[in-house]
C-alpha cells in the first residue's frame, strides 16, 4: 500500500467546499462529515491493471485516498479480487457525484471503471 492519506481535506470547487476524507484507518469515506462509502463493499471493477480478470470482483478492504475529477468523487482502494485472488491497489474509482453541494451515490452494485493511473 502506498500513498495513503488518512483524512486529508479535498475541495471540489473553490466556491463550494466539499470535505472529503478517508478515516479510521481507511474504513470509510466521509463526505461533509457523513459516512458514505465503507470497506467490505463488493465492486465489479473494470480495470486494465488491477488483475487479470476482465471484470475484477473486488472486496474493498481499505480506502486509501480520495479526490475529485470534475464533480465526481473518487477513491483509490486496496482489496482483493475474489475471482482470481489478486491483491492490489486500484486506480481512481468513481463512487459518487456532488450535485448541488450534495453527495449522490454512484450505483456501486453495477460495473465501475477505474482509471489506470496509479
Amino acid at each position: 500500500m502506498t500513498a495513503v492519506r488518512d483524512g486529508v481535506l479535498r475541495c471540489v470547487r473553490p466556491d463550494v467546499t466539499t470535505r472529503l476524507r478517508i478515516l479510521d484507518d481507511g474504513a470509510w469515506l466521509s463526505v461533509d462529515d457523513t459516512r458514505r462509502v465503507s470497506v467490505s463493499e463488493l465492486w465489479r471493477l473494470e480495470s486494465a491493471d488491477f488483475c487479470e480478470c476482465d471484470l475484477a470482483d473486488l472486496v474493498v478492504e481499505n480506502l486509501l485516498e480520495t479526490g475529485v475529477e470534475g464533480r465526481t468523487v473518487q477513491v483509490r482502494a486496496y482489496g482483493q479480487c475474489i475471482a482470481c485472488g489478486a491483491k492490489s491497489t486500484t486506480g481512481w474509482v468513481p463512487v459518487g457525484r456532488v450535485v448541488d453541494g450534495e453527495f449522490v451515490d454512484i450505483d456501486r452494485e453495477g460495473v465501475l471503471t477505474s482509471t489506470s493511473d496509479r
Binding site: 478515516l23 474504513a27 462529515d33 459516512r35 467490505s40 478492504e61 475474489i82
Partner: protein, 582 residues
C-alpha cells in the same frame, strides 16, 4: 502535508476534550456542528468513546481501561450496573441478549450502544469507583497489559503491578505524552510464563536478571515495535536494554517521547513505532534513546527467561490462565473461560457476587478474553467450583471453547468485513460436539478477526481466521482466510496464511478435516504448531479441505450492509434514528 487527524489533534486533544464532550452531552448530540463531526468523533476516542459503525449513528462503544486487567473489589459490579443501565440499544444479540460486557484481548472492557447524553453520569459512576475510560482509545498510552495475576502468581519472577500502577498514574493524563503519532501499547510482565504478550506490543518490559555491582538484580529487558495490524505484523525488537524496576518510568517515558518526536505524523499507516524501528534498526533506536531521552547510562540487556514462556505457545503447560492455580499466599486463583470474551449483564453481576463470596472480590482479565477470580481459599474451592455460573464459564472447558477468541466484527465495527463473535460461538459449539483432538492435546487456539487490524490476534493462534468474502454458487458470501501455526514463546512465530477465502459455512468442516489429518499424521506427542512447522504451505493448504457439514451459518450474507445483523428488518433503511436526548 499533515493529515486532518493531526490538525484536529493540534487544535484540541487530550484532557481538554472532556469539557467539550460534556458540553455536547448536555446540549445534545445534535449540537455537534455538522462540519465538525469527524473531528469530534476522532477526539472522543481519547476518552474511550468510539462511534459505532454506519447504520448505528449516534451510538458509541465505550472502552474502560483496567490496567493489567485488574478490577478491585466492587469494580466489576460497577461495570455490570453501568452495562445494565446504559449499554442497551435498539438491537438484541440472539446469543448474548440486550446488555453485556466484552472482555478484550488487551485486558480492557467494552460496552456498546452508549449514548452521548449518558456519558457524564457514566463517567461519574466509573470515576467515583476508581475506573476510567481515559486514553482507552486514541493516539496515546493505551491500557497497560501484563500478567493479570501479578503479585499473586506463584510463578512470577518479579511483581510487575507496582511498576504498571506507576506507569498508569504517570502517563494517563500527562500532557507531554497525550498526543502521540499513533496508539501506544505497553506491556509489563513479571512472570516467567510470557502471559503479558510483550512481543506484540509497541513497548515491552519482560523479566530479566542483571548483574549490577556484583549482585544479580531482577528487572526488565526492553523490546520495542511489536504489533499485528494491517498485513504488517511485527514482533517487538530487542534494543539491548535492561532496566531496574525503579527506572522503568524514566525509560518508558523516554521511549514514548522518542516516539512522539520521531513517529510519522504525515501518514497514519506508517505511524506505529514498529515502522520507526524498521527504519532505524534497534541500534540507532537505542543510541537515540540514550543520547536524547534518558539522563543516565543504560544497562545492556540482562538474562531473560524467555525459554520458560508457555503462554500462547501452542505446547507445554499454561497456554492460558484458565483453571485452578495456586497463589503465593496459599490461596488460589481460578481462571474462568468466557467464550469470545462476552458476558451477559446478569452473569457479570453474579460473577461479582461470587468473587466477593469466595474470594476477595477482586476479578482480573486476561489477554485471552477470560476472567480470573483470585484469593479463593482451599476450603472454599469445592463450593465455588460447584456454582451454577461455572457450568457456563468453566474452569475446565473443552479445548475449542477455551481456545476461542473473537473480535467485535460487523456487529459494531467500521473496519470489519464479516460477523465474528456470534460466529465464533457457533463454531466452537459445533467443534466441541463434532471433533475430537488427539487425547494428549488439551489446547487448540482458534482466533477470529473481522479484518486485518487483527484485534483478535489471529496471527498467534494455531488456527487464524480473518474476514474475507467469496462467491458461492454465484452469490457473494462471507468467507475466512485460514492461517496456521502461529504462537508466542521464546521463538515466536506468526501464522502462515495457507488457504484463502473459505466460505464461512465450510470453515468448521475445514477445521475438522485439518484436525483429522493432524491426528493421523503427527509424530508421537507432536504439537499442532510443530506439525505445521514441518509442512510447507501447499501441503497445509491441502490438509485444510473446506467442506459443508451440518453446521449452518445464518449470517452468510453481507452483514456489514445491515444496520444490525441480528435485527428482524436488518436493512440500512430500517436503521434507528440517532438517539434522542433525554
Amino acid at each position: 502535508m499533515p493529515t486532518d487527524v493531526e490538525k484536529w489533534k493540534s487544535e484540541v486533544y487530550g484532557n481538554e476534550i472532556r469539557e467539550h464532550l460534556f458540553r455536547f452531552a448536555e446540549e445534545g448530540y445534535e449540537t455537534i456542528p455538522d462540519d465538525e463531526r469527524d473531528a469530534w468523533f476522532e477526539r472522543f476516542k481519547w476518552w474511550g468513546l468510539y462511534h459505532q459503525r454506519n447504520g448505528q449513528e449516534g451510538y458509541f462503544m465505550m472502552r474502560i481501561g483496567t490496567p493489567n486487567g485488574r478490577l478491585e473489589p466492587g469494580q466489576l459490579r460497577v461495570v455490570g450496573e453501568i452495562a445494565d443501565e446504559y449499554a442497551r440499544g435498539p438491537g438484541t444479540n440472539p446469543i448474548f441478549g440486550d446488555a453485556y460486557a466484552d472482555y478484550t484481548t488487551r485486558q480492557a472492557i467494552q460496552l456498546h450502544w452508549i449514548e452521548l447524553s449518558d456519558v457524564p453520569a457514566i463517567f461519574e459512576k466509573l470515576e467515583s469507583n476508581g475506573l476510567s475510560t481515559q486514553q482507552a482509545c486514541g493516539d496515546s498510552w493505551r491500557n497497560i497489559v501484563g500478567n493479570p495475576v501479578a503479585g499473586k502468581d506463584g510463578q512470577e519472577v518479579i511483581d510487575a503491578w507496582p511498576v504498571i500502577r506507576e506507569l498508569n498514574e504517570t502517563f494517563k493524563g500527562d500532557d507531554d505524552h497525550s498526543n502521540l503519532p499513533r496508539k501506544w501499547k505497553v506491556s509489563v510482565t513479571g512472570s516467567a510464563d510470557g502471559s503479558g504478550q510483550g512481543d506484540i506490543n509497541d513497548l515491552a518490559f519482560e523479566p530479566a536478571y542483571k548483574e549490577v555491582e556484583g549482585e544479580d538484580v531482577v528487572g526488565f529487558n526492553v523490546r520495542v515495535g511489536g504489533g499485528l495490524a494491517r498485513n504488517e505484523p511485527r514482533f517487538a525488537r530487542d534494543i539491548d536494554v535492561w532496566v531496574a524496576p525503579e527506572r522503568v518510568p524514566d525509560v518508558a517515558g523516554g521511549i514514548s517521547a522518542l516516539f512522539r518526536d520521531n513517529g510519522d505524523r504525515e501518514d497514519r499507516y506508517n505511524a506505529r513505532v514498529k515502522f520507526l524501528v524498521d527504519e532505524w534498526g534497534p541500534e540507532k533506536f537505542r543510541e537515540t534513546l540514550q543520547e536524547e531521552y534518558v539522563d543516565f547510562e543504560l544497562h545492556t540487556a540482562g538474562r531473560d527467561v524467555r525459554e520458560e514462556y508457555t503462554y500462547n505457545t501452542g505446547e507445554g503447560e499454561r497456554n492460558d490462565l484458565v483453571g485452578v492455580h495456586e497463589q503465593k499466599d496459599g490461596t488460589n486463583f481460578v481462571g474462568l473461560n468466557v467464550l469470545t470474551g462476552r458476558m451477559g449483564v446478569d452473569d457479570v453481576l453474579e460473577l461479582a457476587d461470587l468473587a466477593e463470596e469466595y474470594g476477595s472480590g477482586e476479578v482480573r482479565l486476561s489477554q485471552r478474553q477470560n476472567v480470573i477470580v483470585t484469593d479463593v481459599p482451599d476450603a472454599d474451592l469445592e463450593d465455588f467450583l460447584a456454582e451454577d455460573l461455572l457450568e457456563h464459564y468453566s474452569p475446565d472447558p473443552s479445548p475449542f471453547m477455551r481456545g476461542s477468541i473473537a473480535c467485535t466484527g460487523t456487529e459494531f465495527c467500521s473496519l470489519s468485513i464479516v460477523e465474528t463473535k456470534n460466529r465464533q460461538v457457533r463454531f466452537a459449539r459445533w467443534l466441541k460436539e463434532n471433533v475430537d483432538l488427539p487425547e494428549d492435546v488439551e489446547e487448540f487456539h482458534i482466533h477470529l478477526s473481522g479484518c486485518t487490524a487483527s484485534c483478535a490476534q489471529p496471527q498467534i493462534a494455531d488456527v487464524s481466521l480473518r474476514g474475507m468474502k467469496t462467491r458461492k454458487d454465484g452469490e457473494a458470501v462471507e468467507a475466512l482466510d485460514v492461517g496456521l501455526g502461529g504462537g508466542l514463546g521464546a521463538e515466536p512465530q506468526f501464522a502462515r496464511w495457507v488457504t484463502q477465502r473459505v466460505p464461512v459455512d465450510e470453515v468448521p468442516g475445514a477445521i475438522a478435516n485439518l484436525i483429522e489429518r493432524f491426528a493421523a499424521e503427527r509424530e508421537d506427542g507432536e504439537s499442532f504448531r510443530a506439525f505445521v512447522d514441518r509442512h510447507d504451505d501447499e501441503e497445509l493448504d491441502a490438509f485444510v479441505e473446506p467442506e459443508e457439514t451440518d453446521y449452518e451459518d445464518p449470517m452468510m450474507h453481507n452483514t456489514k450492509m445491515t444496520w444490525y445483523p441480528y435485527a428482524e428488518d436488518d436493512s440500512m433503511d430500517a436503521a434507528p434514528p440517532t438517539p434522542a436526548d433525554d
